[in-house]
C-alpha cells in the first residue's frame, strides 16, 4: 500500500506539469511546437508569403516601386516578347544541358578512377573538390583572367610557338556561353565525384565478385552491374545540378556580366537587371515566377518521392 502511495506521489507532480493548468503547464506540454514556431513563422512569411507576393507583383504594372494596378498577364506577354529573355531562355538550355551532362560524366569518371584502390586517394580527392569551397565570384574572376584573349591561354599557346592559335570565346558572342560551361564544370564536377564515390562504396561487393567469377572483365562489371545500380545517385546529381544551373547568377556576373552584347544572359541575371537595373519590377517578378516554376517542377516530385520513401523505411 505504502509503495503504491509513494510511486503515485512521484508520478503526480509530473502529470501536473504535463496536463496541468496554467501557462507553465501549457508551455511544457507544447514545448516542441513552441520551439519550432519561430522558424515556421519565418519560413511561412519569407518563403511562402514572399513567393505569393512576387506572384502578385508579376500581375501588376510595377516599375521602380511596386504598385497594385493589376494588368493580368500583360507582364508575361512582355516578358516572352523581350529578346533578351528569349536569349536567356535559350542560353539556359545550352548551358544547362552541357553543364549538367559534362559535370556528370566527369564526376562519374573521376569517381570510378579514384575507386581503383588508389594509394593517395585523399590527396586526389582534395584537389578535385577544392573549387567547391570557392565563391562563384572567385571562380568567375579567376577564369575571366585565364580566358583573357590577349594575356591568358591564347597568349600562353602563342609563346609556346603556335602563333595562329585563337581562343577568344570570352569576347565572342557566339561562344561566350561555353566559357560559363567550362568554369561551371570546373567548380561542380568534384562534388559530383564525391556523390558518386559514396554510392560506389555502398555497392554490395558480393555481386561484383560473383560477376567476376562468371568471367566479366572490369569494364563489363561497371557497364552492366555497377553503373545501373547508381540510378538514385544519378537522379540526385541531376536534381542538384539542374537547380544549380537554373539559379546561376554569380558566375555570369563575374565571368561575362551577361556580355558580350547580352549574349550570355541567363534567366537569373535577366531577373536581376530588369528589377534592380532597369526598374521593370513587374517583368522581373514575372521572370522570377518562371524560374521558380522550373525549379519547382523538378524539385517537388523529387522531394515528394524522397520523403515518402523515408516514411516507408520507418
Amino acid at each position: 500500500m505504502s509503495m503504491f502511495q509513494t510511486s503515485s506521489q512521484t508520478v503526480l507532480p509530473r502529470r501536473q506539469v504535463l496536463d496541468g493548468a496554467g501557462l507553465r503547464g501549457w508551455f511544457a506540454k507544447y514545448a516542441s511546437q513552441v520551439a519550432v514556431s519561430p522558424s515556421i513563422a519565418i519560413v511561412l512569411i519569407a518563403v511562402y508569403g514572399f513567393m505569393v507576393w512576387t506572384g502578385v507583383v508579376s500581375f501588376t504594372a510595377s516599375k521602380m516601386l511596386p504598385n497594385y494596378n493589376f494588368v493580368g498577364f500583360d507582364q508575361y506577354v512582355r516578358l516572352w516578347s523581350n529578346p533578351i529573355w528569349r536569349i536567356a531562355v535559350s542560353n539556359i538550355f545550352t548551358f544547362g544541358l552541357l553543364f549538367i551532362s559534362i559535370s556528370t560524366l566527369v564526376g562519374l569518371a573521376l569517381a570510378i578512377l579514384i575507386d581503383q584502390r588508389i594509394r593517395i586517394e585523399g590527396f586526389f580527392r582534395t584537389i578535385y573538390l577544392y573549387p567547391m569551397a570557392l565563391s562563384f565570384i572567385v571562380t568567375g574572376t579567376a577564369w575571366k583572367w585565364i580566358l583573357n584573349p590577349g594575356l591568358g591561354i591564347e597568349r600562353l599557346v602563342h609563346l609556346w610557338g603556335w602563333e595562329s592559335f585563337r581562343f577568344d570565346w570570352l569576347i565572342n558572342p557566339q561562344y561566350a556561353i561555353y566559357t560559363l560551361v567550362i568554369a561551371g564544370v570546373w567548380q561542380s564536377s568534384g562534388f559530383v565525384m564525391a556523390l558518386f564515390l559514396a554510392a560506389l562504396r555502398g555497392i554490395d561487393e558480393d555481386i561484383i565478385k560473383a560477376a567476376r567469377l562468371d568471367g566479366a572483365n572490369g569494364i563489363a562489371v561497371y557497364r552492366r552491374i555497377i553503373i545501373p545500380q547508381l540510378g538514385p545517385t544519378f537522379l540526385t546529381v541531376l536534381v542538384i545540378l539542374t537547380q544549380q544551373a537554373v539559379k546561376s547568377f554569380d558566375l555570369v556576373v563575374a565571368l561575362t556580366a551577361g556580355g558580350p552584347g547580352n549574349s550570355t544572359h541567363l534567366p537569373a541575371t535577366f531577373m536581376y537587371t530588369q528589377t534592380f537595373g532597369r526598374d521593370q519590377m513587374a517583368v522581373g517578378a514575372a521572370s522570377a515566377v518562371m524560374i521558380f516554376m522550373t525549379v519547382a517542377a523538378i524539385v517537388v516530385p523529387y522531394l515528394y518521392s524522397d520523403l515518402r520513401n523515408q516514411r516507408d523505411d520507418v
Binding site: 509530473r14 511544457a28 518563403v47 588508389i118 584537389i127 573549387p131 574572376t141 516514411r311
Partner: protein, 294 residues
C-alpha cells in the same frame, strides 16, 4: 570502407593499367590546380611582367605589393581603400548569422525528430522546401520588407536574410543527424522527467558536436561566398567581400591591374579555402547532407 576489387589482373597488363589510371588522375589534378596556380602566380608579378610573360611563367622578382594594394589600396569606384573594410564586413556578418541559424536548426531538428508532435513531418516538409527555392522569387519582397523594417543596406538586414534562408539547411542537417541517433537516450531523459530544453541542452547537445561542426562549416562557406544577397540588399561601404571583389575587378579607371585583381581573388577565397583544407572531411559531409539523403 571497402573497395571494389576491380583491378585484379596480374602482370604487365595490370601494371600498364595502373600507370594509365595514375596518369589520368594526375593530369586531371593538374587541370583542377592550374587556375589556382595561375591566380597565385599573377598576384605575385608586377604589371610589366604580366604583359611580357605568360600566365604560367614564374615571377622573376616576386612582389607582395599587389597583395598590399588589394588589402588596403585597391579602388572601388573612386574610393581606394582596398578590401580590408569589406573583409571586416563579411566577418562581422558571418559570426552572428552562423551562430543564430545553427542554433535554430539544432532546436528544430531535435523537435522534429526526438520530441515529435502531430504534424511534425508536415512541418519538416514545409521547412525543407526552403532549401530549394531559387532566391529570385524572394528578392523583391525581401528588399521591400527590409526597407519597411528600416534595415535596408545594413549589416543587421543582411544577417537577418542569411539567418532566414539558412534555417531550412541547418534544420535539414540536424534532423538527419538526430534521426540516426538511438532514441533510447531521449526516452530515458523523458522518463526521468526532464523537459524539452533540459533534454536538449543536457542530453542531446553534448553528442551533437559532429553535426554542429558540419552545420557551422556549411553556413560559413555559404554565407561567406554569397553574392546575390550582398549585391541586392547592401551597397557602398556596407557590401560583403565578394561584392567588393567584383567591384574592384570591374572598376575601370586607369590601367587594368590584373595582379591586384588576382591578389583580391586569393584574399577573398582564403577563409573558405582554409576551412576546406583543415576540415575537408566535415565540409564534404555538409555537401552530402545538403543533397537530401537522410
Amino acid at each position: 570502407m571497402t573497395y571494389n576489387p576491380i583491378v585484379r589482373q596480374r602482370g604487365v597488363r595490370h601494371r600498364t593499367g595502373r600507370i594509365f589510371i595514375y596518369l589520368c588522375l594526375g593530369l586531371i589534378a593538374a587541370v583542377y590546380l592550374l587556375p589556382f596556380l595561375v591566380v597565385a602566380l599573377t598576384s605575385l608579378k608586377d604589371l610589366e611582367e604580366i604583359r611580357d610573360g605568360s600566365i604560367l611563367s614564374l615571377p622573376k622578382a616576386p612582389t607582395f605589393e599587389p597583395w598590399r594594394q588589394a588589402w588596403s589600396g585597391a579602388c572601388v569606384g573612386l574610393e581606394c581603400s582596398g578590401l580590408k573594410g569589406f573583409f571586416a564586413n563579411s566577418l562581422m556578418m558571418i559570426v552572428p548569422a552562423v551562430v543564430v541559424s545553427t542554433a535554430m536548426g539544432a532546436i528544430n531538428g531535435f523537435a522534429l525528430t526526438r520530441w515529435t508532435f502531430r504534424g511534425s513531418n508536415f512541418v519538416f516538409a514545409l521547412l525543407l522546401f526552403g532549401v530549394f527555392i531559387p532566391f529570385q522569387i524572394i528578392l523583391i519582397p525581401m528588399a521591400r520588407s527590409l526597407g519597411a523594417l528600416g534595415i535596408a543596406n545594413t549589416m543587421v538586414g543582411l544577417i537577418t536574410v542569411h539567418v532566414v534562408y539558412g534555417i531550412p539547411f541547418t534544420t535539414l542537417f540536424f534532423r538527419n543527424y538526430f534521426i540516426s541517433l538511438p532514441s533510447e537516450l531521449v526516452k530515458a531523459a523523458k522518463v526521468d522527467g526532464a523537459g524539452f530544453y533540459q533534454t536538449f541542452f543536457r542530453v542531446v547537445l553534448p553528442i551533437s558536436i559532429p553535426c554542429i561542426v558540419v552545420a557551422v562549416i556549411w553556413q560559413f562557406t555559404n554565407i561567406w561566398n554569397d553574392f546575390i544577397f550582398g549585391t541586392t540588399f547592401t551597397s557602398g561601404g556596407n557590401v560583403p567581400v565578394t561584392v567588393a571583389l567584383n567591384n574592384i575587378v570591374n572598376t575601370t579607371t586607369g590601367v587594368k591591374t590584373y595582379n591586384i585583381d588576382m591578389a583580391s581573388v586569393v584574399i577573398t577565397a582564403l577563409p573558405t579555402l582554409a576551412i576546406y583544407v583543415f576540415a575537408g572531411k566535415y565540409f564534404l559531409r555538409g555537401l552530402m547532407a545538403g543533397s537530401v539523403k537522410g
